[in-house]
Each structure stands twice: as structure tokens, then as C-alpha cells.
Amino acid sequence: MRYEAPETTADAVALLTGEQGIARVLAGGTDLLVQLKSGRLEPDLVVDVKKIDAMRSITAEDGGFRIGAGVSSAEMSEHDGLCAMWPGVVEAAALIGSTQVQGRATMVGNLCNASPAADSVPAMVAAGATIRIVGPNGSRDIPVENLNSGPGKTTLAKGELVESVYLPARPAGSSDAYLRFIPRTEMDIAVVGVGVSLTLDGSGTCTAARVGLGAVAPTVLLVEDAAKALIGTKCDEAALDAAAAACSAAANPIDDKRGTVDYRIKVAGVLTRRAAAIARDRAEANA
Amino acid sequence: MVRVVLWGSLNKLAADRAYYEVEAKNIIELLRSLGNEYPKLKPTFDRGVAVAIEGTLYQDNWFQPIPPDSEVYVLPRLAGG
């Protein structure tokens, strides 16, 4: 195995493109090193992107924030502007593993590991985040929900990597929230995760909403029916129940060591209702 | 004479009695005379047993005296964590 730590995205792309064998990008490393330890993965090249300035920073852009692929969730939690605008995304990133893990783990790494249970992804999907992919043929921006094609599978082409994620600007009366279910209070992989982002007008009516649902399908889902159930309502109990029902209906989970099909379907609804209520209350506070 | 009570399943390997009257001054005499009378008990005795004398458990001490006319219990050898 070769270890490289380039200082520009272009050099990183060149390394990934040039490698004949298995190449992996190292951001926080909290998933990659576990795979190395288990022997499941034996890459020929590991490219550490944390020496690339563009990937190390959180920068204001068009009223929103661009977060580099090397930014840890701990660093996100310490960024006041980001916490004020996207509290749900930040709290999702801050749920990844332990304090120690949060000191290293990145949202882009969490996304590219392509686990359907990744905590930050439903929140990013709900936020309408886009990611910037850089590769041998230049760079492109795509919606975050379009990156992964299945457990452990991304649509990145040879030589491509994700440089950053962009969280857009928000109108007044907007906010978001993320909730996940785990058996303990910490340290577990989400059995179900739900991110809700919404905007309320002056009268408290929901004018825009997005709902991301994790750990209940091969990839994180954008549940449009749940959003529809909220838009046009005051996010009252009836609307929350409808959104919950939509997420339960959208859930297509499996039985595994972390939960059963029935359990995940039911809890998907429960968490949707709870997360939407939190997002609503936060949005009202921002109105 | 000492009254000896064997634990249920061991008792069935002997004569399935409520108790056995044995002439023994200490643990080794007790196990020897029971083992000779009921050879099926020997393998269990060889693997090790505990003997309760007046409420106290003895695991190894062959020569632990047994008061005359007392009632003792033969139990599986204890292990712990």
C-alpha cells in the first residue's frame, strides 16, 4: 500500500487516475481504517486529502456554506454561522461515532462510504445539499442524493473524488432537524435516521420542505410524499402524522442484527413526526 | 455415623435414597466408603466435588474433620468468575 498526501485537488485526481490497482481517498479515515484493520480492503494507494486547503475549510458562499471534504464534524460543531443556519445537519454530523471519532470523521467521508445508515446523509438530503465532484474531466456539482447507488457503491468515475459539500442559503422562517434511533444513547449505527428541513411563512404555514430517510433502503431516500404532507399545512399533528405515514410507507428495510423490517417501518414514522416537530419549532424561532 | 445427602442426579447413580449412613471421620473417608459402596460415584468424585459440613463448603481438604452424627451434603465442585 502507498500513502500520498497531495496539496492540491488536481494532484489528488492525478494520483487516483494514475493508480492501476485499488485506490481509496482518506479523509477522516474513521471508516477506511476499520476496513483496513479487518482485512476486507487492501488498497494499493491511499490518498490523504487533508493537506488540500480547499478541503480543509468552511467558507460562506452565496449566503450558504461550502464545507470541505476534510472538515471534521467537530469543526462543524464549532462554526457558529453553520450551526445557526443548518442545526440539523450539524447535529447529524455530531452524532457520528464518539467524541474521538467526531474529531476526525467528515460528512463527505460519511457520504462516500455509501452506508445507507450514515447519520449525516439524511440531513444533507433534507437540506438539499449539493456536492462538488472533481475528476480528470473537470468538476461538476450534483445533488447529494444522486451520489450513491447502493450499499458501499457510489457513482464516482475512475479518478473522481468529492471536494466539498454545499449547503444553500435559507429564507427567514427556515430550519432543520435530524433524529436517529439507536439502542444505546451513543456509539451505535442508526437503525433509522430522519432529516427534516422546512420553511414557514409569516403565518406559520409550511411553504417548503424536504425529508431524508436513512437505514431503511439500499440508499438514503428523499421522501417527497412526506414533504408534500407538510407543505401547505401549519405542521400540526395531522400533518405530522401524514408525513410519518409517508416515511413508513417509503421505508423498504431489511431484517438485520440492528433491527427488524417491522420495527424500522414503525420507527421511521415515529422519528419523522418528532424531527418535523423540532424543525417546525426551530423555524418558528427563526421567523 | 454421618448422614450424607447426595445431590439429586448423583443420588440416582447410587441408591436414590434420601440419605446414606456412612462411618467417616473426615472427607476422604466419606468419599472412599461411598465410592466403594457405589462405584458409579467414583468418576464424579475423581473429577472433584464439594462437601458441605455444618453449612460450610469444603472443596479440597480431604482431612477436614466431620463431627459425629452430623449431616453433610455432597455437591458439585464450585467454580467462579
Binding site: 439502542p183 444505546r184 451505535d188 | 445431590w7 439429586g8 460450610t56 463448603l57 468468575g81
Partner: protein, 751 residues
């Protein structure tokens, strides 16, 4: 062992040092990172050992080809079952031999098949990949009830159930049947006004010690040499390794490292004989450190259980009959702790008619190892759930019902013997008085109370107490200190000698320099080691008194020992200036040479131990998640030598039991492979899962110990399973009967 005849056998009650809370002697090293644990030593020319493990739950080994691995540059030795030639008598050592390296068949996912020693971990990893094993996969079984079925795949063709008369003719996976009890249960049930009968299941759990097994073996071709290892008993390691490899015990010196937790899981061998064989074969020191995945797949979790309990009582709340059936699977070899489970199940209660039947069953899982009060938690869990249900049906308070039927001094125990002075009623009465028991309970909350019991024992113990020329004392023994026992030894030695705690230093020394010591288990160390320490001190005092007598030219009978001084006593003793321990030590060279006290004994007389726990939980009815809101432990310690570490044992045991009740379980997939071999999905409690664990130490002196000490290490894990389960049942209004109470299971029970 008998106490010195001149000592009164009534436990002492007033103390100067015992019962205080000084800093432990090994503390500084442990907070600065200096303490050396199993994986923390290195040897010049050291090789790294790795073990190849079975990917199948059950398979016949048709062939193993290690030639390519052996030929890989940097590989210095390869071993398989063929390198453990010494035949063992049928029984535990034969099972251990087949467990540390599979013979003919692999019996579980993770069963060791071969091992290599190489110059680096990466070369060793590469070598493992080059070993070709040809398997014939066989049908498997991991559930205890399925393993007992007539058509179940047999692990050991030809295994005939013991303890059944007449012996069965057909082999099965049932190794042994046990039965305990007295009276006539059928007659008893006939008198009952209320009878509750219910079936229960508990999952297999792992001790979950944070330090993986590790050892460094440095043996020569004749078998002589040293082994460094984290273990609960280095004499056991020596005896097992030497027996398996045909080495004279005296040729091998084993030193136990500091041990990073054991809870029973480090009372046997796994990697040590393999490291020893690799070291002999390669001519180099060989270090083997297990990965966490190996710890879960291939060391010894405890048994999973399936049980049926039937208890009957009269209207006035008196139990008239109790009947229990307990089926434990202890993995691939006989030896599940079901007999202890069956013995402990009803031990808390005073029963006229009681029967407990246990079946020891083998399945395609790792060979179980002892886990804190082996067998008792799952049995008492089932029994106390039924006890509470009976109390509820009778409209009685749970503690009142238990008090009415509680075992006490003079009670004929359910497993046979009549109890001497015991503390169960005291813990129940203390629980009833405790503010926790009367505190209000909120919505979706429930409160559970449960009792627990453990036998405790003593065992073989050697202690040497050497008086240094400066009047300080070195105390050496051979029972690894797993949770502060060195501080307890120092307290008891200081108490007996009458010198400051800081003047005594206790160390755990290797098998070459002290007499035999049994493993640290059975809650025996503070009891048995303490007994030996006290008597070693008394032997040293005798010698110091005789030195003083010679100095003063009087009879030794005219010298008494008081507060660290030899003093003349009695009418004819004459008037002499008392001599301090330090003065006598300084003069030792001229008065007969070094002064020491030794004890090599088999410490019997351990007192049984009881506890009562109170647990409050809150349940999220929408997700099935249970959180512990408040927890209180009340337990008899006989005499708490170092109260802080007694509390620590209470709290640690309670939290292990909480984990067992709520989230811990071995999960096997349909191929019989372990699905959660790591701390990510084997979910032990984390700090944020818990409240503070309140403790109340009760002290009912143990007549079998000069200071009244009882073991306290194990009983604390027994009550929590029932206490938590009862609390959750009360919170949700549904009687639960399976552990762990994981959220999906609880939500299912609620719908």
C-alpha cells in the same frame, strides 16, 4: 484452614486500617500509563504469532496444507493440532486441547485451526492466507432448544448424557443432567392457592473485558523458559501449557501481567499453549495478541439459557413449592454452568418443596468460560420474575413477599446445606427502608426489585510476608489483582502488624518464587488471600516476639504484640522498653536472620453472599427504548476491607447485569456465524446510558474469616437481570420473558 489456635475464632470487629479508603499501591503506575499489561512487553528477537480460524460453524477438516506458509520468507514456525500430541484424560483438559486447536472437526465460527509465527505482523498475515484448509461443511446448531431436539446435528458423535439412570443408549448434544432439591413438589403444589408457571430465554453474553488476551512465550527447545500473560491465574496457565505440551511444570516460570479485566473469561487458556508451541518450534520469543474480533469469536462467552419456572404459594403469601427446569448451552464442549444455575436459582428462598433440573447442552458456539457468578444470573432472573408475578397476583408488596419467604440462618438451602448467619433479610429490609423504594415513579416508568445469591469460595493460596531491614514489609502472593486486591492485602497486613498502610507493599509474583495459588475467581481473593495474609502476619509476629523475648531474656509467652510493638506482658515479664517492628527488623541479622511469615493453605469457610437491587426504568413506548433512571445496590460484604473497591464491585456488577438485560447478545446468522463480533454491535453500556449507581454496604460478619470478610465480586451481577426486566414489565404492563429487552423485541411485545 484452621486459624492459629491461640487466636479466638470470632471475627474481629474494631479496626484501625481495615475499612479505610487509602490510595491503591498500583495506582500511580496505572494513571501514568506505566503499568504493564499483557500486550505491553517485548522481547529481543520477538516473533508475532497469528491464528487461522474456522470460517464455518461446523465442518470436518479433510486436510490442512501449511507448506506454502512455512516456505514464506520470514515465517519461523507453523503449528496445527498435530503439534499438541500429548493425549489427555477424557474431561476438561481434553476439551481444552481440542478447543485451542481444532482436532478433526471445527466446532464453531472462529475455532482455531493453525497458527504461524513470523518476523512481522504483515508477514504473519500473509502466511495465514497461504494455509489451505479443505473443509467438509456439516449442519450446525446454535440454539439450546434446537440442539436438544432428536434430529439435531451432533457435535460429538458418541456423547452419552451423564447423570441419567439408566444411561441413554442414543448419543445427543446433552452432556449432563443435574438435579437438586428436597421435599415433594407435587404435594406442595397441591396445597397452593396461586401458581405461576412461565418460560424464559436469555442470550449468551460476553465478559467484555477491555483488554484482549495477550501473551509472550519465550521457551527453549527443552521446554524451559518464561511466559508473560494477562490472566486471572498464572499457575493455571503454567499447568495447562505444560500439560498440553508435556513439559515439567517446574521448567516454566509464568508471570501474570497487570490484567485489563477478566470477569471469569481469563480463567482458562486460549492462545498461551499456541504461543508456547510456536516459541519452542521457532526457537524465538513469540507474542500473540488477540484482536477484538477474535476475543468475541473464539474466547469464552457465558451460556445462553432456556428455562421454565413454576412456583406456588398460599393466599397468605407463603411459597409451598418451586420447580425449575434450566437448559444452558455452553458452546462446543460440555461445561456450561447449568449446575450452578440450578443450585443458585432458588437459593434466596426458604422452601419446603423445591426441585431444580439442569441440562448442560453443547452447540456450535465458542466453548463458554466462567462469567461472574457463573450460571446464577440467568437462573435467578427467571425465578425472581415469577416471584414478583406471584406477589402481584397475591396483592403483596414485592419486598414483603420476598421477606416472608427469604432464606435465613438455619434455612435448609435449595441446593442442600443449612445456612449459617446470612444477610439476605438484612438487604431486603434495607431496601424497603431505602428512600429509593418509596420515591414516586413517573409516567412510562417502572420499578423492579430482585434478589441475588452467590456461593463464594476460598481455594489454594500462598502468601509470603517479608520484614525489610527498615521495618517496611513486602507481601507477595500469586493471585492476579483484578480490581484492587493488593490494597486490601496491605490494609489487612497493616492491621495485623500494627504498622501504617504505606509501610506494606503487596506484589503479585511469578510461579517460580511463591507457592501455588488458584486463579482469581469465585470472589475468593480478598477472602482467601486476606486469610493467608493475616496468618502470615501472625506467623511473623510470633517470630518477632521470640526475638524480643531473647533480647530481654524472658519467655516468649511473656511477650505480647500490640500496635506494632513487642511488649513484655504478665507479672514475671519484667520491665522492658517495648521494641517496635522497625527495631526488631534492624537487629534481625544479629538475632537469627531474616524475619518472615509464610502461609500455604487451602482457604475454606468462604461465606455465601446475598444482594437486593432496586431499579427504575423509563420506556419510550413508541420506539421500545428503555433507559435506567435510578439504580440502588444493597449487598452484604461481611466486612468491607476497602469500601471504595467494594462499592466498585457492586456498581460494576450491576452495570454488567444491566447490559445483559437490555442490549448485550451474541447474534448468529443462519450460517451459524457470529454477526456482531465487535464493540460496535455487541453493545455494552456506555457512560451516557447510565445514572449514578447508588450502593449500600451491609456488614454481616462471615464467621469463617478473622475479620468477617465475604467475597463481594460476583453476587452483584445476579439481581440486575430480574430487577431491570421486572421494572420494564411494570412500566409497560406486559410480563416480559426474554433477554435482552432490545427495542425491537419490546416494541413487538407492546403491539
Amino acid at each position: 484452614m484452621p486459624l492459629d489456635s491461640d487466636q479466638d475464632t470470632k471475627p474481629r470487629t474494631s479496626f484501625k486500617y481495615v475499612g479505610t479508603r487509602p490510595i491503591r499501591p498500583d495506582g500511580l503506575e496505572k494513571v501514568t500509563g506505566k503499568a504493564k499489561f499483557g500486550a505491553d512487553t517485548f522481547a529481543t528477537g520477538m516473533l508475532h504469532g497469528l491464528i487461522l480460524r474456522s470460517p464455518h460453524a461446523h465442518a470436518r477438516i479433510k486436510s490442512i496444507d501449511t507448506s506454502k506458509a512455512a516456505a514464506l520468507p520470514g515465517v519461523k514456525a507453523v503449528v496445527t493440532a498435530d503439534d499438541f500430541k500429548i493425549e489427555q484424560e477424557p474431561g476438561e483438559m481434553a476439551n481444552v486441547r481440542a478447543n485451542i486447536m481444532a482436532r478433526g472437526k471445527v466446532l464453531y465460527d472462529g475455532h482455531a485451526v493453525a497458527a504461524v509465527a513470523a518476523v512481522s505482523k504483515s508477514v504473519a498475515r500473509a502466511a495465514l492466507k497461504l494455509i489451505k484448509v479443505d473443509y467438509e461443511v456439516l449442519p450446525h446448531v446454535t440454539d439450546v432448544d434446537e440442539a436438544m431436539a432428536d434430529d439435531a446435528p451432533l457435535l460429538h458423535e458418541g456423547m452419552i448424557t451423564e447423570g441419567v439412570e439408566p444411561a441413554p443408549t442414543k448419543p445427543s448434544n446433552i452432556a449432563t443432567r443435574y438435579e437438586f432439591g428436597h421435599g415433594d413438589v407435587d404435594a406442595g403444589f397441591a396445597k397452593a392457592d396461586v401458581i405461576v408457571e412461565r418460560e424464559f430465554k436469555t442470550a449468551a453474553t460476553h465478559q467484555g473485558y477491555i483488554e484482549p488476551h495477550a501473551c509472550l512465550a519465550n521457551l527453549s527447545s527443552d521446554g524451559s523458559g518464561d511466559i508473560w500473560v494477562c490472566t486471572q491465574g498464572h499457575f493455571m496457565i503454567r499447568d495447562s501449557v505444560c500439560s498440553l505440551l508435556g513439559i515439567d511444570f517446574s521448567k516454566v516460570r509464568v508471570q501474570s501481567s497487570e490484567i485489563g479485566g477478566g470477569f471469569g473469561g481469563k480463567t482458562t487458556v486460549f492462545i498461551e499453549p499456541v504461543a508456547a508451541a510456536l516459541s519452542i518450534k521457532s526457537g524465538h520469543p513469540v507474542k500473540i495478541v488477540m484482536s477484538r474480533e477474535e476475543v468475541f469469536r473464539a474466547t469464552g462467552p457465558t451460556a445462553s439459557s432456556s428455562s421454565r419456572i413454576k412456583i406456588g404459594a398460599t393466599k397468605d403469601g407463603r411459597i409451598v413449592a418451586a420447580d425449575g427446569l434450566f437448559k444452558y448451552q455452553g458452546g462446543a464442549f460440555p461445561g456450561s454452568p447449568v449446575e450452578f444455575g440450578a443450585m443458585a436459582a432458588f437459593a434466596c428462598y426458604d422452601l419446603e418443596n423445591v426441585r431444580a433440573v439442569g441440562y448442560d447442552v453443547v452447540t456450535n458456539r465458542p466453548k463458554q468460560a466462567a462469567y461472574r457468578a457463573p450460571g446464577a444470573p440467568m437462573a435467578c432472573y427467571a425465578v425472581d420474575n415469577v416471584i414478583q408475578e406471584l406477589a402481584d397476583k397475591l396483592g403483596m408488596d414485592g419486598i414483603d413477599f420476598r421477606l416472608k419467604n427469604a432464606a435465613d440462618a438455619g434455612t435448609k438451602s435449595s441446593y442442600g446445606p443449612v445456612y449459617p448467619a446470612i444477610g439476605l433479610k438484612t438487604t431486603l429490609e434495607a431496601a424497603k427502608k431505602h428512600p429509593h423504594y418509596s420515591a414516586p415513579i413517573g409516567a412510562n416508568q417502572g420499578r423492579g426489585v430482585a434478589c441475588g445469591f452467590w456461593f463464594n469460595f476460598g481455594g489454594q493460596t500462598s502468601v509470603s510476608l517479608n520484614i525489610s531491614p527498615d521495618g517496611t514489609v513486602n507481601l507477595t502472593t500469586g493471585t492476579p489483582d483484578i480490581g484492587g486486591s493488593r490494597s486490601s492485602y496491605c490494609l489487612m497486613a497493616a492491621e495485623e502488624l500494627g504498622i501504617p498502610y504505606e509501610h506494606v507493599r503487596a506484589s503479585i509474583v511469578d510461579t517460580g518464587v511463591i507457592g501455588y495459588n488458584d486463579v482469581t475467581d469465585g470472589s475468593r481473593v480478598t477472602f482467601a488471600g486476606g486469610l493467608a495474609t493475616i496468618n502470615a502476619a501472625r506467623n511473623a509476629i510470633k517470630e518477632m516476639c521470640s526475638r524480643a523475648a531473647q533480647m530481654w531474656g524472658i519467655d516468649v509467652e511473656a511477650v505480647k504484640w500490640e500496635d506494632g510493638y513487642a511488649k513484655p506482658s504478665g507479672a514475671n515479664a519484667g520491665d522492658h522498653e517495648p521494641l517496635s517492628l522497625a527495631q526488631i527488623a534492624a537487629d534481625a541479622p544479629n538475632t537469627g536472620g531474616p524475619i518472615a511469615g509464610h502461609v500455604e493453605c487451602n482457604a475454606d469457610g468462604a461465606g455465601v453472599s446475598f444482594a437486593t437491587h432496586i431499579c427504575d426504568v423509563e420506556v419510550d413506548r413508541e420506539t421500545g427504548r428503555t433507559s435506567i433512571k435510578r439504580y440502588t445496590v444493597l449487598q452484604d460484604a461481611g466486612k468491607a476491607v476497602h469500601p471504595s473497591y467494594v462499592e466498585g464491585q457492586y456498581q460494576g456488577g450491576a452495570v454488567q447485569g444491566i447490559g445483559w438485560a437490555l442490549n448485550e447478545e451474541y447474534i448468529y446468522n443462519d450460517k451459524g456465524l457470529l454477526d456482531n463480533a465487535g464493540f460496535l454491535d455487541y453493545r455494552i453500556p456506555v457512560a451516557s446510558d447510565l445514572p449514578m449507581i447508588d450502593t449500600q454496604i451491609l456488614e454481616i460478619p462471615n464467621p469463617g474469616h478473622p475479620y468477617g470478610v465475604r467475597g463481594v465480586g460476583e453476587t452483584s451481577i445476579v439481581p440486575p437481570l430480574a430487577a431491570v426486566s421486572i421494572a420494564v414489565s411494570k412500566a409497560v404492563g406486559v410480563q416480559l420473558s426474554e433477554l435482552p429487552i432490545s427495542p425491537p423485541k419490546l416494541l413487538k411485545a407492546l403491539s
